[in-house]
């Protein structure tokens, strides 16, 4: 009898719980960066000869890779963001709504003094993922800036089959492009793999382009500043790990 009462109470609890549960819908897409944000990237590895061979000589003519060389840095300062701009889409042959990001750009340089910006640029992402062309490949294989939530947005785009989106731990894109799969079957001259990771703002944090068995020929990462929090965390982490190792040492010795 008591068991019956427990069961009935539990079912009642569940029914009430379901009816009261607010069905929170996934939030709409949003732009994670704000006006005034500054981003600086470092290029650690850039094998220009191999990149010329594999991607063609014009790979660094424009966009994020413009004049890219090993040991250089590039800076963006966000001027404006807009989530309701219209631009022409060659896919739909119509004006479509886009998210846009306008920024001042300091090109890849070895100079420590940034001075005035080299130019202003604007980049776009379609508001409706269906407005991208089929089997879409991003200009730099992975976007420099992406809409949030990244995983949901990218999974709704009809991307080229080699894309793999992982938003489990760190928002990241892995893209494997087979030989001759873009630019009218001309490039790449050999299979490439790109692994890109993003910040919580949707900005490219790390970009690596591999050939063969993960031989890196391009490595770019976002510059991080050592804050007091980071310093404290480093010390705490170091203490914890040293503590564990000491603890193990004591165990083994005893």
């Amino acid at each position: 009898m008591r068991l019956k009462i427990y069961l009935i109470s539990y079912i009642l609890f569940l029914v009430i719980f379901i009816s009261l549960t607010p069905h929170v819908k996934a939030s709409d897409y949003e732009i994670g960066v704000e006006e005034g944000n500054i981003f600086i990237w470092n290029c650690h590895v850039c094998d220009n000869n191999k990149l010329d061979d594999i991607l063609g000589e014009g790979w660094d003519n424009e966009g994020f890779f413009e004049d890219l060389e090993e040991g250089t840095r590039m800076k963006w300062k966000i001027r404006d963001t807009d989530d309701d701009q219209k631009i022409y889409s060659s896919e739909t042959k119509d004006n479509e709504t886009v998210y846009s990001l306008e920024f001042a750009k300091w090109k890849w340089t070895t100079n420590d003094n940034w001075g005035d910006e080299d130019k202003n640029e604007e980049i776009y992402l379609f508001k409706d993922p269906d407005d991208f062309s089929d089997d879409y490949i991003f200009p730099e294989f992975a976007p420099v800036w992406i809409i949030l939530p990244m995983g949901e947005y990218l999974k709704n785009i009809d991307l080229y089959e080699g894309y793999n989106i992982d938003a489990r731990v760190i928002d990241s894109i892995t893209c494997v492009i087979e030989r001759g799969d873009f630019d009218d079957d001309k490039y790449p001259k050999e299979k490439i793999k790109v692994v890109a990771m993003y910040t919580e703002q949707g900005i490219l944090k790390s970009y690596k382009l591999y050939i063969g068995d993960h031989e890196v020929i391009l490595d770019i990462s976002l510059e991080t500043f050592i804050t007091i929090n980071l310093l404290l965390l480093s010390i705490i982490t170091a203490f914890l790990y040293v503590g564990i190792i000491y603890f193990i040492y004591k165990i083994m010795k005893s």
Binding site: L3, V169, V195, H214
Partner: protein
């Protein structure tokens, strides 16, 4: 009714048990609320739910990862299990799934109690207080909350593994061995965590004292047939839908998934994270095979030459198998520790009460996995930009591996004062 009486009795007699039950129910309710509200679009159950739906509607699309927020990586037959939840709808499906997880935890506790009663050495306290203490610690473990909040299926694996273990320990007959291994096979179908336990099912041991190889062929064969049969049913699915095989291989071994940085504490992943950070060329399969070659080989060799009582050897085998899995596979997460900690509890009761191995390795690892691993996972998120290595649990896993190996190869008499074995010897059972 007897169960309720027993529960009431435990509730009255043990404060620690009361606290554990209350804490566990809090985990259950908080995670239920979280998944149905704020984590509605970010949980593992959603993947199982979608996999069930895809299996039901269009099986060829099962490994098309565009259908999931995170990759679906299990064997195709695993998705069959999730079809009923899909048919119930997300809310009701999750509530039933979540309630089943709670029931499984109760059953795991009962099985733990029963197994410990069989294997406990006589130099341990003969009342139930210490068993209840460890079961309570298992119930309040931090990975429990993580497992609930993700809507994971680790408890099914633990449950099936313990059922198999109980059957192997309790019954000698071949038909029971077949049943136990069938149950283990079922757990592998559901999630391949227990895959590396298979070689440990073979009843083989080299007696170093008498220089003699002991090999129980019929029992080994029956066990292997039993465990392989449910897994082999997937071959039928792969043959019927060849596209699934490519998807399965790519998702698990060659795709982008093994590449990205994460907080997995497996040695393989730590090496891959290191290669990623320092641009060292690598092939993830070779790294996996290299680590497996070393850890797996040591584990199997130690097991082969280990000095165990025949009955207990399966427990050591299961523990070796799981520790090897956690150290070798790409993704070893905090909630996977729920598969290992019950085995550690059993080991604590098999080893002598004042065992150095228990105190130095097993207990330390057990408490770390139960309460501290999650904190290191959090720390990883804060330091991953410059130090993406979550190796605290790795250290404790290696310590347990070392402790087990040391104990296995030691010459001390492991048959002594085991109550059950003594009864068997005296013909009481």
């Amino acid at each position: 009714m007897k169960c309720l009486e027993s529960f009431k009795d435990l509730w009255i007699r043990y404060t620690v048990f009361r606290i554990a039950v209350v804490v566990h129910i809090c985990y259950f309710i908080i995670s239920l609320i979280c998944v149905l509200t704020i984590l509605r679009d970010q949980n593992d159950f959603l993947i199982y739910f979608n996999a069930g739906g895809i299996f039901y509607n269009n099986i060829n699309d099962l490994y098309n990862q565009e259908n999931y927020i995170w990759d679906y990586r299990y064997l195709p037959l695993s998705a069959v299990f999730f079809v009923p939840f899909y048919l119930l709808g997300f809310d009701l499906g999750f509530i039933i799934f979540h309630t089943l997880n709670l029931l499984l935890n109760i059953l795991i506790c009962v099985l733990l109690y029963k197994i410990i009663k069989i294997v406990r050495k006589e130099d341990h306290e003969q009342d139930d207080k210490r068993i209840i203490l460890y079961i309570s610690l298992y119930l309040v473990a931090a990975p429990q909350m993580f497992n609930y909040i993700l809507g994971q299926i680790n408890l099914y694996i633990t449950f099936f593994m313990l059922v198999a273990l109980y059957v192997f320990l309790k019954y000698e007959d071949l038909k029971w061995n077949l049943l136990g291994s069938l149950v283990l096979g079922l757990s592998i179908v559901l999630k391949p965590t227990a895959l590396l336990l298979i070689p440990f099912l073979i009843v083989v041991n080299y007696d170093l004292n008498h220089k003699k190889l002991i090999f129980d062929f019929p029992k080994s064969l029956i066990r292997i047939i039993g465990v392989v049969f449910p897994i082999s049913l997937n071959i039928i699915i792969f043959l019927l839908y060849p596209k699934l095989w490519d998807g399965f291989i790519e998702t698990n071994f060659t795709g982008g998934n093994p590449l990205t940085l994460n907080f997995s504490f497996s040695i393989t992943k730590i090496i891959l994270n290191f290669c990623y950070m320092y641009n060292i060329p690598f092939n993830q399969i070779y790294v996996l095979l290299f680590v497996f070659g070393i850890i797996g080989m040591i584990g199997y060799v130690v097991f082969l030459f280990g000095r165990y009582h025949e009955r207990d050897s399966i427990i050591y085998g299961f523990t070796f198998g799981l520790v090897i899995t956690l150290l070798v596979y790409y993704d070893s997460w905090n909630h996977h520790l729920l598969n290992l900690t019950p085995l550690l509890i059993i080991l604590i009761f098999i080893l002598p009460r004042k065992s150095e191995i228990t105190n130095k390795y097993i207990k330390k690892g057990f408490f770390f996995f139960n309460f501290f691993d999650l904190a290191f996972m959090g720390l990883w998120f804060l330091t991953m930009l410059w130090f993406p290595y979550n190796f605290a649990s790795t250290i404790f896993l290696v310590l347990i591996f070392y402790g087990l190996s040391k104990h296995s190869l030691s010459t001390e008499d492991k048959n002594f004062n085991n109550k059950h074995i003594n009864k068997v010897k005296r013909g009481y059972v």
